[in-house]
């Protein structure tokens, strides 16, 4: 039995979660703490990946990063291909999961008492230092809740990944796609084993992600 999808899914979902933290936390902070033109629009826009059907989202993404799209053509010229590689699966999982992280982190940042930040400023801390030593630690629990949700969504993504990464065995076929493929081929024993593996792996990885995320604070 081919266990490639298991390893691929682990890698894709972890990379996507890391990427979602890197991009989502700053964005959530900006949405919670900064006033800028278009903030309300952006606030609504970050939720759109949750609202749009995944296959539609996948198609949009394909049009952008596929070989005919603006980004795809640019990357092609640089000799990098994105669509239909494991990196495309990461982007798919990242896109699907980031709203969950942003919304949770945003609520976390909004819940931090502004007076505590101001107190830190009166003690001579820079904005950068206030963020790292006051705001982030106080918002951390909410952010982590968002991270775990994002990881779950990233691991389970089906529609976006199918469209933009394809379901290429041994290359881009993640665990959800492999299970679907086995069900279609009426190979129920394989589908059952993979489903069981998925449950065990998610539990293990969730424990791991949770622990890793608590390292700093």
């Amino acid at each position: 039995m081919d266990l490639f999808p298991v390893a691929l899914s682990a890698r894709v979902s972890l990379t996507a979660t890391a990427l979602a933290m890197l991009t989502g936390i700053p964005l959530a902070w900006a949405l919670a703490r900064r006033a800028f033109p278009g903030r309300r629009v952006l606030d609504a826009l970050v939720l759109s990946p949750l609202v749009l059907p995944p296959t539609v989202l996948g198609y949009y993404l394909l049009v952008v990063i596929g070989s005919r799209g603006p980004v795809g053509r640019l990357l092609d010229a640089l000799g990098v291909s994105l669509a239909f590689t494991w990196r495309a699966a990461v982007i798919a999982a990242w896109l699907g999961s980031i709203p969950l992280l942003i919304k949770a982190a945003q609520a976390g940042f909004e819940g931090v008492d502004v007076r505590l930040e101001q107190a830190a400023r009166t003690l001579g801390r820079t904005e950068w230092s206030v963020f790292w030593s006051v705001t982030l630690p106080l918002a951390w629990r909410s952010i982590m809740a968002g991270v775990v949700l994002a990881f779950c969504r990233a691991f389970g993504d089906f529609g976006i990944t199918l469209m933009v990464a394809g379901s290429i065995p041994g290359r881009t076929q993640t665990l959800p796609l492999a299970i679907y493929d086995h069900v279609q081929a009426n190979e129920m024993p394989q589908a059952n084993v993979l489903s069981l593996v998925a449950v065990i792996m998610v539990v293990l990885l969730l424990i791991g992600v949770g622990r890793l995320a608590r390292l700093r604070y």
Partner: protein, 256 residues
């Protein structure tokens, strides 16, 4: 104890990330994208071709419409076997496949399948109206050729409108078969090439009821090894390939 679990968990996450095996690059690979109705026939053809040419074939099956879209946007296919020639002609017009490599390779047949768990075998499309048939599976007519043919056939015998509430759409014809095979749908219109499974009975549907499912193939222009794609086409259309395709109920070029 807890500290150890924690360390184990962290290590398992890192291991999980690192454990993706690198793609084996030593063997030449050919990516064959094919319509889902080829699933069983190609399961036999692919190993034979691999043995003869000493290459590795990566087979990607799906609905013709979706695969065509993906290939148009750069999916790494070397050769594309569509379930309907219009998709190949369309890709040729867009410059996505090499027009000179286009070839007919089969004509698909549609069957009326009944799940054994649903009782006596249906022999006529009009029987789909019977109350014991609660769900009728067809492939999505919007993008799957067999779905389109199914819609045409149901319209031709005048039961389409009446059946609409019962219809369930499979994403491709293999998915549609699975609905009937599992008994979730009591009946369905599926490909003859996939119909020979233990849990269903089937009868052929008159070819005159729908536009012919002429299936054609072409080599993709972006392919780095077009000669291998061409070799695969020739293999399918050669003696060994034709014998296998015939066994799965396809009509072959020259026979229709």
């Amino acid at each position: 104890m807890w500290a150890m679990t924690r360390r184990l968990a962290i290590v398992s996450v890192l291991l999980a990330w690192l454990s993706v095996p690198a793609a084996a690059a030593q063997v030449t690979e050919v990516a064959v994208f094919g319509a889902a109705d080829l699933a069983l026939a190609f399961k036999e053809i692919v190993p034979k071709f691999e043995r003869v040419l000493g290459v590795k074939v990566t087979l990607v099956l799906g609905s013709t419409g979706m695969l065509a879209k993906q290939i148009e946007h750069g999916a790494p296919a070397d050769v594309f076997f569509a379930a309907d020639q219009t998709f190949i002609d369309d890709l040729a017009a867009k410059g996505v496949v090499i027009p000179e490599t286009r070839a007919l390779y089969a004509q698909g047949r549609l069957v009326l399948a009944t799940a054994r768990s649903a009782g006596a075998k249906l022999i006529d499309l009009r029987q789909l109206s019977e109350p014991r048939i609660r769900h009728v599976a067809i492939a999505n007519p919007a993008h799957a050729p067999y779905g389109r043919a199914a819609e045409q056939a149901l319209r031709a015998v005048g039961v389409w409108d009446e059946l609409r509430p019962k219809l369930v759409y499979g994403e491709n014809i293999r998915h549609t078969l699975q609905f009937v095979e599992s008994g979730a749908a009591e009946a369905g219109l599926i490909a003859l090439s996939l119909a020979n499974v233990a849990t269903i009975d089937y009868v052929l549907i008159d070819r005159a009821l729908h536009a012919p499912l002429n299936q054609s193939v072409a080599v993709v222009r972006r392919s780095a090894r077009p000669e291998l794609g061409l070799a695969f086409i020739q293999f399918v259309n050669g003696g060994e390939g034709r014998a296998i395709m015939k066994r799965y109920g396809f009509l072959l070029p020259g026979e229709f």
